[in-house]
Point group: C2
Chain length 215, copies 2
């Protein structure tokens, strides 16, 4: 309906308003790159191809990004925002301080990796493009923060407590490793086929449960 307000006849690519200044190029390029990374893997992307997909000339992207690295950083940044949101809403779906809340944060993480393995790899991939980018590091820490909060609530300790930090890191490692293994070997390793939730709950229980005998 609303699409018909523009007079333009079926042109290649969705071209809102006029061809110039559609104001959406930046977002469209990021979406295109996300797509490329997903289908051709990280590094299987080129500025030229992204521009082609967005329906603009190969020079157009440089009006929005300094160079190819900056585009990638844009994709990573956007992806981290979505990951963070997913983790938060995972936690929010369960009672604060429950093991389920912790597991749900992990489940969101794993789901993200499965849904967008290429982007997931890009986010945690080689440091070439986004090393030293302080905003990305910050976003990474924010994601970790969600785990820390859930663990702190579970242990009834302050998030800053070293015990919380340590256990949260262990939980994160597990989920991170499981995510990678699951997208790497798909279902090749027998164990990886089993239900995520069972694993996540078992690990949460083992790591956050009552203190085991101390060495």
């Amino acid at each position: 309906m609303a699409d018909k307000t523009t007079v333009a006849p079926a042109e290649p690519r969705v071209t809102p308003k006029s061809a110039y200044h559609h104001g959406d190029l930046r977002a469209q390029l990021i979406a295109a790159v996300r797509d490329l990374v997903e289908t051709h893997g990280p590094d299987g992307f080129s500025v030229a191809e992204a521009a082609r997909r967005a329906g603009v000339s190969s020079a157009a992207p440089y009006k929005h990004f300094k160079d190819r690295h900056e585009i990638l950083r844009g994709v990573v940044s956007e992806a981290m925002d979505r990951l963070h949101a997913a983790m938060r809403s995972g936690a929010a779906a369960h009672a604060t301080g429950s093991l389920e809340a912790v597991a749900a944060v992990g489940q969101a993480y794993v789901n993200f990796a499965r849904a967008e393995p290429g982007v997931f790899r890009l986010v945690f991939g080689l440091t070439e493009g986004h090393e030293n980018a302080p905003d990305l590091l910050k976003k990474g820490e924010n994601c970790f923060g969600v785990v820390v909060e859930a663990a702190a609530a579970c242990l009834e300790l302050a998030p800053q407590h070293p015990d919380v930090q340590r256990r949260a890191y262990i939980l994160w490692s597990f989920v991170h490793g499981h995510s990678f293994l699951t997208i790497d070997m798909k279902h090749k390793v027998a164990s990886a086929e089993v239900d995520d939730w069972q694993y996540l709950m078992e690990v949460a229980r083992a790591i956050l449960g009552p203190v085991e005998r101390t060495g």
Copy 2:
């Protein structure tokens, strides 16, 4: 001393015997690629540059490898052999069935990732080159087998026991995740600075220790 037996005056690159048929090119190329991957990251490698480093023409590699993917697969295969050996000898350094043996396997894994982050990423990296390569999948399973064996000995159960498989996978996930996080963020995340061994033992204890309350 022994180097002086060849008459060749200081030539570029170590050129054993004659320039032709030095019989070592395959291995030298793999070593060169390993180096390149380490310094420029996975995908930061080219056949041309590898040939250059090995001191041969850019066409020479094709006498030993079908294409660039086959070279990468060679690097991965060699790396997995070394990783497997390191894991085995880690386990062998401690009493069979001890938590220490399990932790040592993990430590070997983490050490490998730290020593060769580029290659480590390549091994577990994008599936482009080495998807479906049955020998590589086999080698991956063999590595997992080391974890399984150590866990089985610890639990005094057969390696095939589902409980062993499940817990071994959990341990592997943790170590895998910790390895990636440690090479990704180096020491950015506070917790990652802490001693590996402490983590590894804590996790081994939590996962393989006495059964926690069920349900």
